[in-house]
């Protein structure tokens, strides 16, 4: 990245990924974390309320998808709600009106997120830094107003009473716990995909572009193609999260395409830890838990969130997981 505040932030984070190469010990650690995560996902619904957990998982995937773009390419998209929300509308519409089975509904939502990503990404990566962020924001606002006015989205009402249906036409998802395991599987799939992307040769090139774009160009990489590819991967995963959320809550509404959702996901990523694989999910868990348990405070939740964000930026800029990574001297 060459200019703008975004680039400098990305550069700040660079040492974590750049100095400590993902060695053997780190790989072992990551494997253990993934196994631990799977174990945790297995036990969690018997301890906590499954619907709450599913919400956390959807947002964790969303935040991770967003952070893939910001953390590993230094591209701050301020319009990720568009892909998340649009996918959730399409999934809801597909399940309710077209009578799709849930897996097909989720797939069609994801597909729309991907296509939207191709178009918006192609436009947005032509600019860098703050201009890139502004273009993504503008495009996502267009999507928002489209959703307000379009017939099929139901305006302020949203698409309500979306059937959860039967997975593959066989497994009834009406039971929260059954649905939970489906969502957990989707989440794990998404996380492993993100992990693979980051640690693939493609991911290495992305990091190179993030840290020094002119050098990457001089080495013969077609930088914009790489950026677009990562942008689309990120929006596809964001779409996957949004589509899953629509099936879980049986509802797609304007909240999901509103710009504040784009802001929330930035918050989740920064609280959890920018440039870490596991940070955004921790951030999402923290923010969603707060919204859930502080719901009685009403609008004050936002104030509390603001304070936490300020505290986070002042006290530990690396985020929660970033802090651990620093202590362990291992990328997480």
């Amino acid at each position: 990245m060459s200019s703008g505040t975004v680039a400098s932030e990305g550069a700040d984070e660079a040492p974590i990924g750049a100095v400590q190469q993902t060695g053997k010990s780190a790989k072992k650690l990551h494997g253990m974390i993934f196994i631990g995560l799977a174990g945790l996902l297995l036990i969690a619904p018997f301890v906590l309320y499954p619907v709450f957990l599913m919400k956390v998982l959807c947002f964790a995937l969303f935040a991770s998808a967003f952070s893939l773009l910001l953390g590993y390419a230094g591209l701050l998209s301020f319009g990720h709600a568009a892909y998340f929300g649009m996918a959730s509308y399409i999934a809801a519409h597909a399940a309710k009106v077209w009578g799709f089975t849930p897996e097909l509904a989720i797939l069609s939502g994801t597909l729309v997120g991907t296509l939207l990503g191709v178009v918006f990404g192609w436009l947005a990566i032509k600019r860098q830094g703050i201009y890139f962020a502004m273009i993504t924001l503008a495009l996502s606002q267009m999507v928002f107003f489209f959703c307000v006015q379009a017939k099929f989205t139901g305006g302020e009402d949203g698409i309500q009473a979306v059937p959860r249906g039967h997975l593959f036409g066989l497994i009834d998802l009406a039971n929260d716990r059954v649905l939970y395991f489906v969502v957990a599987a989707i989440f794990l799939f998404g996380m492993i995909a993100i992990y693979r992307i980051i640690h693939s040769p493609f991911g290495q090139v992305m990091k190179a572009i993030r840290d020094n774009e002119p050098r990457a160009v001089s080495l013969g990489y077609r930088v914009n193609q790489y950026k677009l590819a990562l942008f689309v991967l990120s929006t596809a995963l964001a779409g996957l999260a949004g589509a899953t959320k629509a099936i879980v809550f049986q509802l797609a509404s304007l909240t999901d395409v509103h710009w504040s959702m784009s802001g929330e996901v930035v918050l989740m990523t920064l609280v959890g830890g920018l440039g870490t694989v596991f940070g955004p999910m921790v951030g999402a868990a923290v923010i969603v838990t707060m919204q859930n348990y502080l719901a009685t405070l009403g609008a004050w939740v936002l104030v509390v969130q603001g304070f936490i964000f300020v505290a986070c930026v002042l006290a530990f800029r690396e985020g929660i997981v970033g802090l651990f990574a620093k202590r362990l001297k291992q990328p997480l």
Binding site: Y49, V51, F52, K55, V148, G155, E156, D157, G158, Q160, A161, A174, D176, F249, Q250, L251, S253, L254, T255, D256, N292, A295, T296, G298, A299
Partner: protein, 400 residues
């Protein structure tokens, strides 16, 4: 030693089992509405106070019922509302959800309630679809609905000479339903709709919409919106000189709290339909004084009064049954006649609509008012049979 423990355990179990025979029926009521946004004055924290007063008056302990009240803010967002409803039903053991202003949220909560087979008693929510096309066996729509408002205000104003209308509609479920029902009422009374415009929920600037309304040359501008949206419309219409130039405003959903914040100077002459006004009878005055004492001197709105009455009716049904099984309680509530201190005599129909008289009021002129809260005078009483949409017209699948 082992045997002793066992005996003790058995004894304790027996005691507990014996105890439960006299145990009270625990019921949990959830008041879900807009606690901080544009509809907070209409229902908001006041509805929680109303629910508490109802429980206080019912004296449930002496009747074998233990009541607990919880409340939450749905921020006028369907997703927030349905998430809270789901959590309340699944996790917190809530039996009944009350109030729920904002029709889009009410419809979302209605879906969740049906899925979980609990009870939903709507007071603040307005769309007549809740007892029409989208009715469920779990809904009781207590206070008012869009059909009743349109029928009251729409036909009264049209018959009084306002025969061409321009509709200014809030762009969500409630606005759409109110627009539809009003248009029907106006046409039925011999008027016509010359145009309409939709505005987003919670708008601050109505100028472009009001200019369209002004250009339409309609005699009446029908405001199919509510809360602060209506207040803003009325204030800005005055600034644009619309009311002075001969076009009149018809408020289709105006609560006493709205008139209070507008002031009589701005609101005078406005005709509106309501199910409840504090200064109706001795009983409503007595209740309202108690309510005001508990709620910082504010008189109850009809939505808040509706929460009070629906809680009483629910508790009566539970008392009669000594049970809170949803199907039984719903049947009992529909069987018991409503004889309510605040809403008069009525009943709950098979589609979940609670019927009672409605009133057409006119806002007093400042010089007519004798006190801070003396705001309305009755123009007409709409009898129970005519106040609500006929059962057969609603399209509710429960009506056979």
């Amino acid at each position: 030693m082992k045997r002793k423990t066992l005996t003790a355990a058995v004894a304790v179990t027996a005691l507990l089992a014996g105890g439960s025979a006299f145990a009270q029926v625990p019921v949990k009521l959830g008041v879900l509405n807009d606690m901080s946004g544009l509809y907070a004055d209409i229902s908001g924290p006041g509805s929680v106070v109303a629910a508490r007063l109802a429980v206080e008056d019912f004296k449930p302990e002496s009747k074998g019922i233990k009541v607990e009240i919880v409340s939450a803010d749905h921020q006028n967002k369907p997703d927030v509302g349905s998430t809270i409803a789901r959590k309340w039903y699944d996790q917190d053991g809530v039996d009944v959800i009350l109030d729920v202003t904002t029709s889009s949220v009410a419809l979302a909560v209605s879906d969740v309630t049906k899925e979980k087979n609990k009870i939903f008693m709507i007071s603040g929510g307005g769309t007549s679809d809740l007892t029409g096309a989208k009715c469920t066996a779990n809904n009781v729509h207590w206070t008012y609905d869009t059909w009743a408002l349109a029928n009251g205000t729409g036909s009264a104003v049209t018959k009084a000479g306002g025969d061409s209308w321009f509709m200014l509609t809030a762009d969500y479920a409630f606005g759409a339903a109110l627009d539809r029902d009003t248009s029907e009422a106006v046409k039925k009374a011999g008027g016509k709709i010359v145009g309409s415009v939709k505005h987003p929920l919670s708008t601050a600037d109505f100028s472009s919409f009001l200019l369209q309304a002004q250009a339409s040359k309609a005699k009446v501008i029908g405001m199919a919106n509510a809360g602060s949206d209506t207040i803003n419309t009325i204030k800005q219409a005055a600034e644009f000189g619309i009311t002075q130039s001969g076009q009149s405003l018809a408020g289709l959903l105006i609560f006493s709290s709205d008139v209070k914040s507008l002031g009589l100077q701005a609101a005078q002459g406005l005709k509106l339909t309501e199910a409840f006004y504090w200064d109706q009878t001795d009983a409503t005055r007595a209740f309202s004084k108690r309510f005001a004492a508990a709620f910082g001197g504010k008189m109850p709105t009809s939505a808040q009064a509706g929460v009070y009455s629906s809680v009483l009716h629910y508790l009566k049904a539970v008392e009669a049954l000594k049970d809170k099984d949803t199907t039984k309680v719903m049947a009992k509530m529909k069987e018991l006649p409503i004889d309510d201190a605040l809403f008069g005599k009525g009943s709950i129909r098979v589609d979940g609509r609670a019927i009672h008289p409605m009133y057409l009021y006119e806002v007093k002129k400042p010089e007519e008012s004798k006190g801070e809260w003396d705001m309305y005078k009755v123009v007409a009483t709409i009898p129970t049979e005519e106040a609500f949409r006929p059962l057969k017209d609603g399209g509710c699948p429960l009506v056979k």
